[in-house]
Amino acid sequence: LASPPRAVNVDLQTDATLQVDISDALSERDKVKFTVHTKSTLPNFKQNEFSVVRQHEEFIWLHDSFVENEDYAGYIIPPAPPRPDFDASREKLQKLGEGEGSMTKEEFTKMKQELEAEYLAIFKKTVAMHEVFLCRVAAHPVLRKDLNFHVFLEYNQDLSVRGKNKKEKLEDFFKNVVKSADGVLVAGVKDVDDFFEHEKTFLLEYHNRVKDASAKSDKMIRSHKSAADDINRIASSLYTLGTQDSTDLCKYESLLKLLTFLCFKIEARVAADEDLKLADLLKYYLRESQAAKDLLYRRSRALVDYENANKALDKARAKNRDVLQAETSQQLCCHKFEKISESAKQELIDFKTRRVAAFRKNLVELAELELKHAKGNLQLLQSCLGVLKGNT
């Protein structure tokens, strides 16, 4: 696989001190192997340039290690890449194989090519998602220094991280339940700080709206693909129609075939553009806005802890018991809260900058792509019309 293009969704500054990309990927039966390539001038690494092979589970391990690290509570943790999902595509290819007998050789070859192209597109996307994650980490002033990250990049053996077993998955599930219940409680706490109060309201609504837009754009693109598939099917039946007809009609039948193929391309391209520039963008910001929400949650949690610690200190002072303990506890909570608040503010500002830049880039590219394709289609259609109208 040729080196995929740099992550298109996110606008990141890269510098020479640490550059990470996925230079290669291999899709096997039930796993994908990513070749993570690093170029760095940092002294931490033994070499300036090196590569290792990683699987999806190892990315998740890295992400989770960030989330669980208390020191990183004040940062937006880059969202984990989604699991590579070729199931649907594989199923389609399998169905095609089973139905091989019921269609002509041309139909079969054509469908196979289409499905293989689809498989390749999904593959490229999953590579891009994993790459974006690593790039975000590498671009973050604090996270890039993380030791686990360096191990991930450099250690050329298997990290032996297994996927979570059933028990651990169940634990995660309960943790999330608790967290969302807690989140509701914590969200109710009004913040004295205007900036954070505004961010909280904004993010809550924004996240929901992005979720909706992402779902609707997926639906729209699926319809588009269905329509394109129909046109493809029409083209195949026209193909078989022409070969049986008398030569008089062959002229028109072959032009008809070309036209149908053109119609298919028109639809398929639009669907692909929308998918790339719109759907992926929305999906990514759905995850990022969730990560931002998580940050706010952690800060609110810390605030609640801080306020509780204050109350406990007052009580202790009133009873004159365990005052020192309460004081230490209160100081810790205060420190934690302030630390989080400070970095959170910057993180949220950066989030907005990134978001605006990414949307701008993708919307501009979407419009440019649509224009390019529409103009190309128009030319082809007009020349086809010219041939048909002039041909009597």
Binding site: R209, S223, A227, A367
Partner: protein
Amino acid sequence: MCLSSSEPASLPAEDISTNSNGPKQDLLFDEDPEDLFAEATEEVSLDSPERDLLLSDGPSPAITPITPPTSVITPCIGHSLLRIKFEQFQTCFLQIEEEEGGDLFDMNISVSDPEKVGDGMNAYMAYKVTTKTSMSVFKRTEFSVKRRFSDFLGLHSKLASKYLHVGYIVPPAPEKSIVGMTKVKVGKEDQSSNEFVEKRRSALERYLMRTVKHPVLLKDPDVLQFLESSDLPRAVSTQALSSAGLLRMVNKAADAVNKMTIKMNESDAWFEEKQQHFENLDVQLRKLHASVESLVCHRKELSVNTAQFAKSAAMLGNSEDHTALSRALSQLAEVEEKIDQLHQDQANADFYLFSELLGDYVRLITAVKGVFDHRMKTWQKWQDSQMLLQKKREAEAKLQFTNKPDKLQQAKDEIKELEGKVQQGERDFEQISKTIRKEVSRFEKDRVKDFKTIIIKYLESLVQTQQQLIKYWEAFLPEAKAIS
């Protein structure tokens, strides 16, 4: 001076009456004008009885036998002699073949203004049928009448009974739809019943145009009456659940069974090849029709989903707190809304242009196959007569040795009659074969023309769509770039 040919049959008027078995001879499509007009180089006087034959329209005013164009005849009032040269006839004949009876085919029929008449289950839709034409077979150049759906079915029924069995491909009428009509009768004024009426109106229009484009059907008195006369007797036997309707169904089933038992020795490879060709075409067109219907469905779905996405994008734009991005997202929502409209228009084009055309052709091919079946039946009839004749001859031979002069005479009479029948059977078979060849070639030409016209229309609609898309995205691009 008169035509040296003494056979008035060389220029017979076509015998068209409503109960006839169709034209006995199809001169319009004769491939050998020489046979007919070899003698026509002689001059014909204005007063000769042959001229009357030449110029008479026969029993039906609608049918024009082979005559030179009126420009040759009418100015000759001042001349004493009509000079009819073979070459003139030949050119005239060819012109007629192309120009359908003396004028260029210039006719446009539109079906419009659907109007509900009556109430409840007896209600029906009346359509206005407007004909605009410069053709001489019509009395006026523009006229309209009111017709209802059963009138169209009645027309088709009459034409089918007259022409199908002699090999003409009679365009099938639009399909009945009990569900569709009931909704209209009951008075449901919603989108689906409006769509149904529009679909039907369009189908009726196409049906009439196809019918009149057929050079023989155009001249049929039933067709002319349908288009011109303000009063038309109700075609009662077209009701789906009537006894006539049931009888039709029974006959159809019987036909199907009979067809299976006819084993014809096809001596003509052309027919075998064409029959196979139409079988294949039938299968392919049905498949194509199904695919196009699926496309129309998905396109409508796409339109709905695009509209939903547009709303969602607008909401997202509202909650976005960066002003320029917020505005751009709202603009995106507007673009998507406009694109949704384009999708709807495209779905309509897919439907009206292609799906309906394919449906028409699936039904037409059934009519074509029917005509081939009639040929088989004609052959069978001929064969049966021949076999019967054979039997009678054998019986006669046996009777020779008995002393029964009456019975012998009877047998001889029967044989004579049967010989006539056999000859007629053979003539019928040859005639229908000839007609079918001609019809098939006309059908194929029309098919190419039809599809070509539709493809051009469809392409033009696609061109429009792309042009609109360019407009929308060009307007959007600066908004997207303005985000900072």
